[in-house]
């Protein structure tokens, strides 16, 4: 192949398609990518360090600020880690509310994932329709928690508050409408030939590499690896729901996108079942927890399936009321690690498609 002199191009940090402040230093040969070096850290706020100066409960609002698109799932990972460390029992009703708000967060996050994926490729209508439904979910979450994005809803030992009057009915109504909306996105984005041409057989990721790089979430499942923590190692009450794990075939951008789309359908199913089951469960939404939390000396690692992949919290306690160390395994950051090899050999325009198919959120990458 004819080669020209290589040159480099800064993609970001101020670029609308990087979904935040993220830079890729691209080395190009004409329009082909020779190398793509991701540079992150522009949004680093030192959340792990801040956590060391906060009490166990006070860390919760900071976890929101990582993946702010699915804040409940971030809360959940942290509180479950601390509960594991202290051996706290969570009331059943709280578990259901956690599942419901968590899955709502997941749908909201995936709606952004697919909507922005479509937008990056040029499908503006699909993006707007995704945001329309996301807004309805935000409204529901706002009624439940008081905030739209940074929910801070989970508490160590339960959740902050019970569902308000009539909330479960409104939730049920939206969940019944949701499959119709998803069909609309399917028609608008998935079936679109231009979208398919831009994403099919682009950024191929083989199952072996995905596992070797410890990728997770839809990025991993798009390559056909059936690994979803909700199924593989159920936490909370996830073993009580009947749902499937959608998988891709080729491991290209399109499969990753489709995985998210199908996962939303499964999340809707989980919520519908949870809404039915929660009716039979009454009782408190927060367990018996001491006012001052002083976990025993020791360490714990707990991971859950967040919307972007596996989020793990490593918490070390020295017996005081503040964590000695909190480390977070952030799925966006780890999924991003493979970006360089994923973009090699493709065209410059494909970088946008590949990056948005990993669905990163910079708050989580930089933490």
């Amino acid at each position: 192949m004819l080669r020209t002199q290589e040159y480099f191009l800064n993609f970001g940090p101020q670029h609308p398609s990087t979904h935040g402040v993220f830079q890729i230093i691209l080395t190009l040969d004409g329009e082909r990518i020779v190398k793509g070096e991701p540079v992150c850290g522009y949004l680093h706020r030192g959340i792990e360090k801040l956590a060391e100066a906060r009490t166990y409960t006070q860390v919760i609002p900071y976890t929101d600020r990582m993946d702010y698109l699915a804040a409940m799932l971030q809360n959940l990972g942290y509180v479950q880690a601390v509960e594991k460390l202290m051996g706290i029992e969570v009331p059943e009703r709280a578990e259901y509310l956690r599942v419901i708000s968590g899955e709502l967060s997941r749908i909201a996050s995936h709606l952004i994932g697919i909507g922005v994926n479509a937008l990056d490729i040029g499908a503006f209508t699909g993006f707007l329709l995704c945001f329309r439904e996301r807004e309805k979910i935000m409204d529901l979450l706002e009624e439940l928690t008081g905030s739209r994005m940074t929910l801070s809803y989970a508490r160590i030992g339960g959740v902050a508050d019970d569902a308000p009057e009539g909330w479960l009915d409104r939730l049920k109504k939206l969940m019944d409408e949701m499959p119709g909306y998803i069909e609309e996105y399917q028609g608008l984005i998935t079936g679109n030939e231009i979208f398919q041409a831009r994403t099919k057989f682009i950024g191929i990721l083989s199952p072996e590499t995905a596992i070797n790089y410890s990728l997770s979430g839809p990025t991993l499942r798009g390559s056909g690896v059936n690994y979803d923590l909700r199924k593989a190692r159920p936490y909370g009450v996830y073993d009580r729901f009947d749902f499937e794990v959608p998988l891709g075939e080729n491991g290209d951008c399109f499969d990753r996108f489709l995985c998210r789309m199908l996962e939303m359908e499964q999340s809707v199913r989980i919520i519908q079942q949870a809404v039915e089951q929660i009716k039979e469960v009454d009782g408190p939404v927060i367990g018996k927890v001491p006012k001052v939390l002083k976990p025993p000396k020791g360490e714990v690692y707990h991971e859950i399936e967040s919307s972007k992949g596996i989020i793990g919290y490593y918490v070390v306690s020295d017996g005081s009321n503040k964590p000695y160390r909190v480390h977070v395994r952030r799925p966006s950051f780890i999924n991003l690690g493979y970006l360089d090899e994923m973009v090699r050999g493709y065209l410059l325009a494909d970088v946008v498609a590949i990056l948005s198919s990993i669905d990163i959120v910079l708050g989580e990458v930089d933490c």
Binding site: T125, T145, T150, S152, A160, G187, L188, G191, E193
Partner: protein, 177 residues
């Protein structure tokens, strides 16, 4: 057939074109704000015993409480929030077991000047006379202060943060003993 997907997409777009509009023409129309909304704080001065639990629960040291000893009792002279550092997490409201601190539905907290941002919920003089005087004085104070005014006393903007924090810290220590 190539192009079938595109036509289907256009059909959906066409259908949505006639769907009812969802955009709200703010500020002429407004969304309803839910009951639990995390808006501007309001403090019920009657109920507040200046225990400092809320200040201790806050992850970002937003709240500072000043109090003075009048006779044998503590009298709260100031309750200020550096609202620019607030995460609106609600931990303070939750921690108050006197039900004194609340969120309101007011989300309009923007200010023109930085010095106006801190939210002054209480700022008053301690009464000179102890005990008997205390009740009526507190009542009188409330009449002026229950609505949290955003115009945060322009003549004295942010107090030196360290001082007020120390004051709050000390106060809560005493409470604990």
């Amino acid at each position: 057939m190539f192009g079938k997907g595109l036509i289907k997409g256009l059909q959906i777009t066409w259908k949505e074109f006639w769907a009812p509009k969802l955009t709200v023409q703010y500020p002429d129309e407004q969304h309803t704000v839910p009951e639990r909304f995390h808006g501007r704080f309001v403090l019920d001065v009657d109920k507040c015993i200046a225990c400092g639990l809320c200040a201790n629960a806050c992850p970002n040291k937003v709240i500072s409480i000043e109090k003075q000893k009048v006779g044998k009792k503590q009298y709260m002279t100031g309750y200020k929030m550096k609202i620019q550092y607030c995460l609106f997490c609600g931990l303070c409201v939750e921690s108050c077991n006197k039900d004194a601190l609340h969120f309101s539905k007011d989300f309009n907290m923007n200010q023109y000047f930085y010095r106006d941002i801190p939210l002054v919920l209480v700022e008053r003089e301690a009464p000179a006379e102890p005990l008997e005087e205390e009740e009526p004085a507190a009542k009188a104070g409330d009449k002026e202060k229950p609505k949290p005014k955003p115009k945060a006393k322009a003549e004295k903007p942010a107090e030196p943060a360290a001082q007020t924090e120390v004051a709050a810290g000390k106060a809560s220590d005493k409470e604990g003993q």
